[in-house]
């Protein structure tokens, strides 16, 4: 039985299982806990955004799901298949698009895909058909015969990077920052491709720190920080639960001291000074936020270093939950 056949057999046996099921996953490197007891379930057919800053534990989590790294404890299943017990079956149903452009620039697009397809046990006409299909999905048919992908544009390379993960027709696809550094045309092409794949039943986990992309693509969202999933649910539900307006002010020390004294007189306002010294106020109603900042600007700090008023969004949810902006944004 080929790997592809094994994979299909695996799918048939796990139609009712969750696409992804993590339970109490812990992983430490040199006494630093990268994943700290994460439990997370992704249903089949979902399009979920996994949000988190660099160092939050996303890559380690993906590595554990992909079978590259073994967790210290906990259990991980893909379509009901235990990763630790049957790693090759999991590899047959799981596709991973790495953040790196993991393709060979010396080879052509077709040569790259034929090689990666062969790694999944695909042969002969089936391999040729899968390569042609993957190239069509990412809009690179006209580039297939070019001698070397090293001369492709950044967007074309990104699309080929995705195509290489589609050859074995995975049931679950994890994409790690798939749109870093590309042009809007390629980004839109990738979005359309992913929507099409999802509409065909593929479960997609979209890992990013571009919140707008999650808002544009995903139905559900999970936010990870310090190795834990700190919030998850439908996009609307998360916004309803945590969607607050935010005012972010960077003030001089004396001004900040006076502003804090003023805020103490308004018990209905939630505020904090973040790690990077920003005074952050959150309110449920945007008008309240505007009134507060007006008062501070008028009475205390007419010329603050920075002043931001943010309406409810995933970004304000993230900031509200973690106290920090996504660190690379």
């Amino acid at each position: 039985m080929t790997t592809a056949q094994e994979a299909m057999a695996g799918c048939a046996a796990s139609e009712s299982a969750a696409a992804l099921e993590l339970s109490g996953i812990v992983k430490s490197f040199d006494h630093v806990r990268a994943v700290d007891g994460t439990s997370w379930t992704v249903q089949q057919g979902d399009f979920v955004g996994l949000l988190g800053p660099n160092g939050a534990g996303k890559t380690t989590l993906i590595s554990i799901i992909a079978g590259l790294v073994k967790g210290d404890s906990g259990q991980a299943r893909v379509l009901g298949i235990d990763i630790a017990e049957e790693p090759n079956r999991v590899k047959g149903v799981l596709g991973v698009v790495p953040q790196d452009l993991a393709i060979y620039p010396e080879l052509g697009a077709r040569e790259n895909l034929q090689f990666f397809g062969a790694m999944y046990g695909l042969r002969g006409q089936e391999l040729k058909d899968r390569v042609a299909d993957a190239l069509r999905r990412v809009g690179l048919e006209d580039r297939a015969a070019r001698p070397a992908v090293g001369k492709f544009s950044g967007g074309q390379k990104r699309r080929l990077n995705i195509a290489a993960a589609l050859l074995h027709r995975p049931q679950v696809l994890i994409l790690d920052e798939p749109t870093v550094g590309i042009d809007p045309q390629s980004r839109n092409y990738i979005f359309d491709t992913l929507r099409e794949l999802n509409s065909e039943g593929m479960t997609i986990v979209y890992v990013t720190h571009y919140m707008q992309e999650v808002e544009a693509l995903c139905r559900t969202v999970a936010i990870v920080d310090h190795g834990r999933i700190i919030e998850e649910g439908s996009l609307d539900g998360v916004l309803a639960r945590h969607g607050t307006s935010l005012v972010r002010l960077t003030l001089h020390a004396e001004e900040q001291r006076r502003a804090l004294a003023l805020l103490e007189k308004h018990p209905g306002v939630t505020y904090r000074v973040t790690d990077d010294g920003v005074l952050q106020l959150s309110t449920r109603v945007l008008q309240d936020a505007v009134d507060l900042v007006t008062t501070i600007l008028k009475d205390i700090a007419p010329n603050p270093e920075t002043c931001q008023i943010l309406p409810p969004s995933l970004e304000t949810v993230f900031i509200g939950l973690t106290g920090n902006q996504l660190r690379d944004v």
């Binding site: 490197f29 090759n88 799981l94 790495p98 790196d100 993991a102 060979y104 990666f116």
Partner: protein, 381 residues
């Protein structure tokens, strides 16, 4: 099957890399051809019959006087011995020559190792000059004594006998047990020499391609697919194994066609090449596994490859080196490969005769692969 796909993919990439051709084929060919032409008969190998003798042992009634002359030459180690022991030392290759003074003190024979030419030729002149200088000094001293005793009726006769005293007669003879063909021609030195040196230079290419695969993230992508780590590693090493064989075929073919170098027993040649290529690839994997970056691995490989090749006698015949250097050569895989290749092309050694060298090379391979496999990390943390 997946191993073969990895092999074919890497071969395609390697074939598009001009640096590979330059480093692994053009450079060794250039060095071996140019040096073979430039240094034609410098090692004295082949049919040269130049008389040589380097004294290291002396015996006979005038041993003291001869030893005194020899010790005036810097850089010579000598000892006294009886004639049989002195000859045996040369016969066994422990000394490159012996000075044998006749019992009557009238003749000195230089008993030589004919496989040692150039060094001997340089010293031969020094020894002759030293003996002549010693004789002249002795004559002057004795004439002085005669002058002091002037008036004595016997003085004139003594002075005349000193001045007409014949000088010591220097002859040479050669050890019958030593083979003149033991000294290589330039082609027999440089064709296998640069083949062996650049066979191990593949270590740099192995490191380059393994690190490149890891840094690009393609190794990670391969690990995510259902292919075993051993398939990946074997598939990645197969192209460099193939390159090793092609290197030997190409450079030896040039040696044969351009310089008429004998190729010897084909089976023995293949056997040694298999073992040497295995050792070179194991060496490459070990260097890669012990390095943290590609630059570090390439630097380490270059340093070790050229140093070990020099010590192993790839560039200069081992017989030109001091005894301790010749011993060090046997601690290197290049030294054993060199010794095996030269015994095939110079002495016509067959498969059985090169088996000890092959066994040592395989032992080196096992050690290198063992360290490489234990230490190699597929992923950076």
């Amino acid at each position: 099957m997946k191993t073969l796909h990895v092999f074919w993919k890497d071969l395609l990439i390697l074939s598009k890399d001009r640096g590979t051709y330059i480093n692994l084929f053009v450079l060794p060919l250039m060095f071996s051809v140019v040096l073979t032409i430039a240094l034609g008969g410098v090692f004295g190998g082949g049919k040269s019959d130049s008389p040589v003798a380097i004294p290291v042992a002396a015996s006979g009634v005038q041993a003291e006087a001869v030893a005194k002359a020899i010790t005036s030459i810097p850089g010579i180690t000598w000892r006294t011995a009886n004639p049989d022991d002195a000859r045996a030392a040369v016969d066994q290759g422990k000394s490159i020559g012996a000075v044998l003074v006749a019992e009557d003190g009238k003749g000195i024979d230089f008993y030589e190792d004919p496989s040692q030419l150039t060094n001997a030729q340089l010293l031969y002149g020094q020894i002759s000059a030293a003996l002549e200088a010693n004789r002249a000094a002795s004559q002057a001293a004795r004439l002085g004594q005669v002058a002091k005793a002037s008036g004595n009726p016997q003085t004139e006769a003594q002075g005349a006998s000193i001045l007409t005293e014949p000088s010591l007669r220097l002859t040479t003879s050669q050890s019958g047990t030593r083979d003149t063909s033991a000294q290589p021609t330039a082609a027999e030195q440089y064709i296998p020499g640069f083949t062996v040196a650049f066979l191990f230079f593949i270590a740099s290419t192995i490191a380059q391609y393994l690190f490149m695969e890891r840094e690009r993230g393609t190794l990670r992508r391969l690990l995510i697919s259902p292919v075993s780590r051993s398939s990946i590693l074997v598939g990645k090493l197969l192209p460099t194994v193939l390159i090793g064989f092609v290197q030997v075929v190409v450079i030896f073919a040039v040696g044969r066609l351009a310089f008429g170098m004998a190729l010897g027993n084909p089976a023995a040649l293949i056997l040694v090449t298999c073992a040497a290529v295995a050792a070179a690839n194991g060496f490459g994997l070990m260097i890669t596994s012990l390095s943290k970056t590609q630059a570090q691995a390439t630097g380490l490989a270059t340093l070790l490859v050229f140093t070990l090749a020099t010590v192993a006698g790839c560039y200069v015949p081992l017989s030109f080196m001091p005894g301790f250097m010749q011993s060090i050569a046997l601690a290197t895989p290049q030294g054993w490969a060199m010794q095996a290749y030269q015994s095939i092309i110079m002495k016509g050694a067959d498969s059985l005769e090169v088996l000890p060298s092959v066994a040592v090379l395989i032992a080196f391979s096992l050690v290198f692969f063992g360290i490489g496999l234990v230490r190699f990390r597929f992923e950076e943390r």
